[in-house]
Amino acid sequence: MQVAETLLNIEGLKTHFFTEAGVVKAVDGISFNLKKGESLGLVGESGSGKTVTALSVLRIVPKPGKITDGKIEFNDEDLLQKTEEEMQRMRGSEIAIIFQDPSSSLNPVYTVETQLRDVVMAHQTVSKTEARKKAIEILEVVGIPDAGTRMREYPHQFSGGMKQRVAVARALACEPTLLFADEPTTNLDVTIQAQVLNLLNDLKKKFGMSLVMITHDMGIIAEMTTRIVVLYAGRVCEIAETHDLFERPRHPYTEALLAAVPRLDMRKTLRIIPGNIPNLIQPPSGCRFHPRCQYAKQICKEDIPILEEIESGHFVACHEWQNITLKGERSR
């Protein structure tokens, strides 16, 4: 088997927010990697650090947030060592991101044409006419009919699904090698969601991009990704290939998450994860999931579990993984 090249390697990333109420440890020692051409899922609930991880890679963490520790290697270059100018050149042309809400990520006072043209002209030395041509092309690729006319319109003249297509077009205008999709369909209706997910899959094949899909929706993850990183309260719980994770989860949080999601193709008893998502200013000691974990032992309160590879490609951060048998999606 050919080993695919690593495109992105994150090691011990810590991004903290220095607020007046205290230091919010939004991302607290996250490590994972991404291979070329891969679709990786970042799963977790709100406050798990999914989005902050993506923002850290692009180095656009908003104030008062700061990357305090760790390494982010992209194509063997350390992104944290780069100057702001160098980063600016990479954003859009190498690494791009689409956000959850296209209405707030597109600028309402510029036409779609201007916004797309600006992206192209920022990264390539082309004339205005050429940039415009490129913009039409990419709009056609993302499935906007009559692109030449519609691009002269403003974002508010597009529907939600169409706006998200424009956002996708803007992200892909310079054919980046890595795309972060941060909950790209959460605001869309299901039939439109299916269209956008299909589009992302097609474009991934077409441009040979790597995709990091950030979502809390286990359905989208199952459908779109080949490998999954499960995050909880700023730390990695488990990393595994998608089918492996769904069939044989090894972390109690992953098991609980799977058991808590209703399925359309069958009715099942929903298992409750007791309690709430922890406060990240004073996160629980030891394993951050221990107050909600039914398998928690004394050691879980005291020691931080390390992420270990228990099988080839399957990583788990749990003290008790050898002593517990967890149920996957099919064995319930």
């Binding site: 609930e45 709100s46 529907s159 699904g161 169409m162 209706d189 299901v190 039939t191 439109i192 969601q193 299916a194 269209q195 997910l197 299909n198 809390h216 929706d217 286990m218 359905g219 989208i220 993850i221 199952a222 459908e223 779109m224 998608t242 089918h243 769904f246 609980a256 998450l257 799977l258 808590a260 999601v261 209703p262 399925r263 359309l264 193709d265 009715r267 929903l270 298992r271 409750i272 994860i273 709430n276 998502i277 999606e329 099919r330």
Partner: protein, 343 residues
């Protein structure tokens, strides 16, 4: 227009329907931007000829995409807006007539029986009131609990929805989304309603918290025999909680059946597409799907004939010409389609 009107013998006392909705229509006028005079330029067909029944202790799911009229139906049933035409019966009483003719006490009595919880528990709780004030406010309005028992009742209600007594002295901002939704439920239950409308109650919550609220809704139904109208765009949660489901598209109900029947053997092409569009949390279940082209058209000038025909993979000429009749195609399974998916 008259497509679905099943006569059930009006006011027959044997009927165990708690709610009967008959040919409900709501159009919202759209005005032009005139300087002095407003001119009506069109009508938004928000709800068009919707009929269904909800039995006691039953959960009736109403699904559809945004803008299909789900929430307008809820507001009509609660008489928060006036219908263009149609009737709603609650315990065989026409609520629109009642709200027009009855005196204040009787209106309040009717209001007590029907309650609503909203999607956003951040927006539906007053940030300046303590949880105790929020939950006891219905006692002030309805005066059904003597003042010396307020405290006990509030504690009971908090326990019922899975909160603790000490939570009563806190303010909404001290709670997480799931807990706030529990507070909303406690407030709704404070008047001892028989019928609760839950409008996307879990959409703004995290996945691990959604299961808590869905299970709580189920438990409450068993314990106090509530009937629910559960409104959501999330088919998985509708399937989880409902006994019967109606699918809405552009203001109309296109299909109605028992939950399992509807999800296993959908008849209407829209329902089929909607079900297939939902990603299933199981990588082995990845399947071929029909992805619907286009978007939901404007409800101001809905398409002629069957409103779904411009996006329907099965559409023929007749679909654009004549509106299909909403009829019982199989026992207990209604749909409005010329070319339903029959085995």
């Amino acid at each position: 227009m008259a497509k679905y009107h099943v006569e059930r013998g009006k006011k027959s006392l044997t009927s165990n329907n708690l709610i009967e909705v008959k040919n409900l229509v709501k159009y919202f006028p759209v005005y032009s931007r005139g300087v002095l005079l407003k001119k009506e330029v069109g009508l938004v067909h928000a709800v068009d000829n919707v009929s269904f029944n909800i039995k006691r202790k039953e959960t009736f799911g109403l699904v559809g995409e945004s803008g299909c009229g789900k929430t307008t139906v809820a507001r009509l049933i609660l008489n928060l807006i006036k219908p263009t035409s149609g009737e709603v019966f609650f315990e065989e009483e026409n609520i629109f007539e009642k709200f027009q003719s009855a005196n204040k006490d009787e209106k309040l009595k009717l209001r007590r029986k029907m309650q609503l919880i909203f999607q956003n528990p951040y927006g539906s709780l007053d940030p300046r009131m303590t949880v105790f004030d929020i939950i006891s406010e219905p006692f002030v309005i309805h005066k059904h609990v003597p003042k010396n028992q307020w405290k006990n009742r509030v504690y009971e209600l908090l326990k019922l929805v899975g909160l603790e007594e000490y939570h009563a002295e806190r303010y909404p901002h001290e709670f997480s989304g799931g807990q706030r939704q529990r507070i909303c439920m406690a407030r709704a239950l404070a008047v001892e309603p028989e019928f609760l409308i839950a409008d996307e109650p879990v959409s703004s919550l995290d996945v691990s918290i959604r299961a808590q609220i869905l299970n709580l809704l189920g438990e409450l139904q068993e314990r106090i025999g509530l009937a629910y109208l559960y409104i959501s765009h999330d088919l998985s949660s509708v399937r989880q909680i409902s006994h019967k489901v109606a699918v809405m598209y552009l203001g109309e109900i296109v299909e109605l059946a028992d939950t399992d029947e509807l999800f296993k053997k959908p008849l209407h092409p829209y329902t089929v597409a909607l079900i297939q569009a939902v990603p299933i949390p199981d990588p082995k279940a990845r399947a071929m799907k029909i992805v619907l082209p286009g978007e939901v058209p404007s409800p101001i000038n809905p398409p002629s004939g069957c409103r779904f025909h411009p996006r329907c993979p099965k559409a023929q000429k007749i679909c654009s010409e004549k509106e299909p009749v909403f009829e019982e195609l199989k026992s207990g399974h209604f749909a409005a389609c010329y070319f339903p998916h029959m085995d």
